[in-house]
Symmetry: C2
Subunit: 341 residues, 2 copies
């Protein structure tokens, strides 16, 4: 292994000077700098990042903390993770993937000094992991929000997203619009914030329109989607449109509606919010989706965190990005008279 000492010897300077050149920490005479740079490239020297981390007490590693990601096809997560990793790399940081399921384990990891900062995914409305994170004194940013809006976060703007979906459906004449959200088996009463915020936005929108809300909550699976279709058919037969905030149930909802004799979009219009264009295309008919800004969020989260670490920004980031409407074939004019009624 070629070390800084080797470079220094070859360039006839002290290792301190080499360090100054590499980091640009202090001005170095052009002629000396040239000698050092020559030595570096001749020896093919790469600075040891571990030693650097120990000496500077900055590892330049960011942790991406997340519960076990679900096995279902989920382009959103991949996009998010990739773009966060990219954003970090471009600023000289690496991203470590840390599946953490229990809080105790998380504290241990954070205390090890391996990471300079952390990004926490799948944040829930009450989240003990956030308390741990705060206690660990490691700078962080949340992906999603807890009940405490003062913490640093980036999140989907559900109000804007739901409003746009509602407007889109209303422009097709739909009057009665239902919402299908997600329930997780593990913690049915402590949902990810996005579910609750989407629901709140929906309720607000319905209240503003002076229409009774219709919320259906199912699991994020094909079976859940079919269950939603049945519930919709039985309990809200006059609904002509559905907004989904349940990526995993999208396909099942279409299948289920069809099985009940309701064709999409003739009898029922569907918008799947917070998902991806690709998922919409997989389904027949192609779903109109509100694509989650996963890539943007990933990059923003990484950037915001690094800004904090480097003192560029000292107020905690509070960033909201709406989803993007991508029309498919699952939204059509409201039927003159609902097929179910």
């Amino acid at each position: 292994m070629v070390t800084m000492r080797d470079v220094a010897e070859r360039a006839n300077v002290s290792i301190a000077t080499v360090s100054f050149v590499i980091n640009g920490t202090k001005p170095v005479a052009p002629e000396t700098r040239a000698r050092i740079e020559a030595a570096i490239s001749e020896l093919d020297y790469r600075r040891n990042v571990v030693a650097r981390a120990l000496a500077s007490s900055r590892t330049r590693i960011l942790a991406l903390l997340h519960p076990d990601l679900e096995a279902r096809p989920n382009a959103t997560v991949i996009q998010f993770v990739m773009s966060a990793a990219h954003g970090a790399r471009e600023r000289g940081y690496d991203l470590v993937l840390w599946p953490v399921n229990d809080d105790e384990q998380m504290s241990h990891l954070l205390a090890g000094g391996l990471v300079d900062g952390a990004l926490l995914m799948e944040v829930q409305i009450h989240d003990s992991r956030v308390d741990r994170l705060i206690a660990s004194r490691v700078p962080f940013a949340l992906i999603g929000r807890t009940e405490n809006d003062d913490l640093p976060f980036v999140d989907i703007d559900f109000t804007a997203t739901i409003n746009q979906a509602v407007d889109h459906l209303r422009s097709y004449g739909h009057q009665r619009i239902a919402l299908v959200t997600q329930r997780t088996k593990a913690a049915p009463d402590n949902e990810p914030g996005r579910i609750l915020r989407a629901e709140a936005a929906y309720l607000d929108a319905m209240a503003a329109l002076d229409r009774p809300p219709a919320v259906i909550t199912v699991e994020g699976t094909s079976a859940g989607g079919r269950e939603a279709a049945r519930t919709l058919h039985e309990h809200f037969p006059d609904a002509t449109a559905v907004i989904l905030v349940n990526e995993g149930a999208s396909a099942g909802l279409v299948k289920g509606a069809r099985a009940l004799g309701r064709s999409v979009p003739d009898d029922l219009s569907i918008i799947s919010a917070s998902t991806t264009r690709e998922l919409g295309e997989m389904i027949e008919p192609s779903l109109t989706v509100m694509a989650a800004p996963a890539a943007e969020l990933g990059r923003l989260a990484a950037d915001a965190l690094i800004d904090q670490l480097e003192g560029i920004q000292d107020t905690p980031p509070h960033l909201l990005i709406p989803c993007t409407l991508i029309p498919g074939q699952s939204v059509g004019p409201a039927p003159a008279r609902p097929s179910g009624g």
Copy 2:
């Protein structure tokens, strides 16, 4: 920050002894050990992993090197990554995600000394990244294979997988079976090994049955799937069954076939190999899939690499795992007379 020195002082021993207790490196008298452990828990001490890495020249970090992952829904990748991360964690290692697109960048990263070993994803049949990896002298394992079977790898057993798919279809009476594979836009003549190996296995199977092969190559998108349906219809009208090794084109193939008046599975049976159960369920009708052993591969890859690092295993791992057949509704009896002929 509480250091080893603090613990040592409190327990009235030297820091070396503390280290021996923590690592179990040398025997320590029970009474002394108890004092040290008490001090550790009283002070809530966590060893600094960076210092440990520098001193022991082992970081216990593994890199997961991959090109930019595609944005389409891809449960396989997530499963793989998650289970590799878990496998690593259980053995005291962390997994860093490293999107690398250019070789030069990769060499730099590996030379930095941050990682003890690397896992390389999306290996292609000729892969310059593998040469870089070898040159860097960082131990590694490939996910997939190059042309050189002597390198350490874990991979899907495509021969077994394709054979099982063929057998399954033949048990339903299918005689003419086509294969739909994937072409990547970026490097059309240097495919991931899996495509070529699947194709080779298919050709072998057809040769053994004395049937002419029918291979269709399209992009891994919905559009690609529809294109495959058209090609199949026009060029291989007598084919009554298709094996897909192209996750992204699955949905499009079904849509395309239907658009051409061929219903699944009555006129055309489909098996999608090397994908996930969840993806199969999203499609109507539910696809019969050969689920990729992503989770197994992830864990095996991590384990094999760590075994090598720790000298437990010194012969390079060569592991092949077949996909698992999960029946859906896309395979049915061969029609008496092909609808296309």
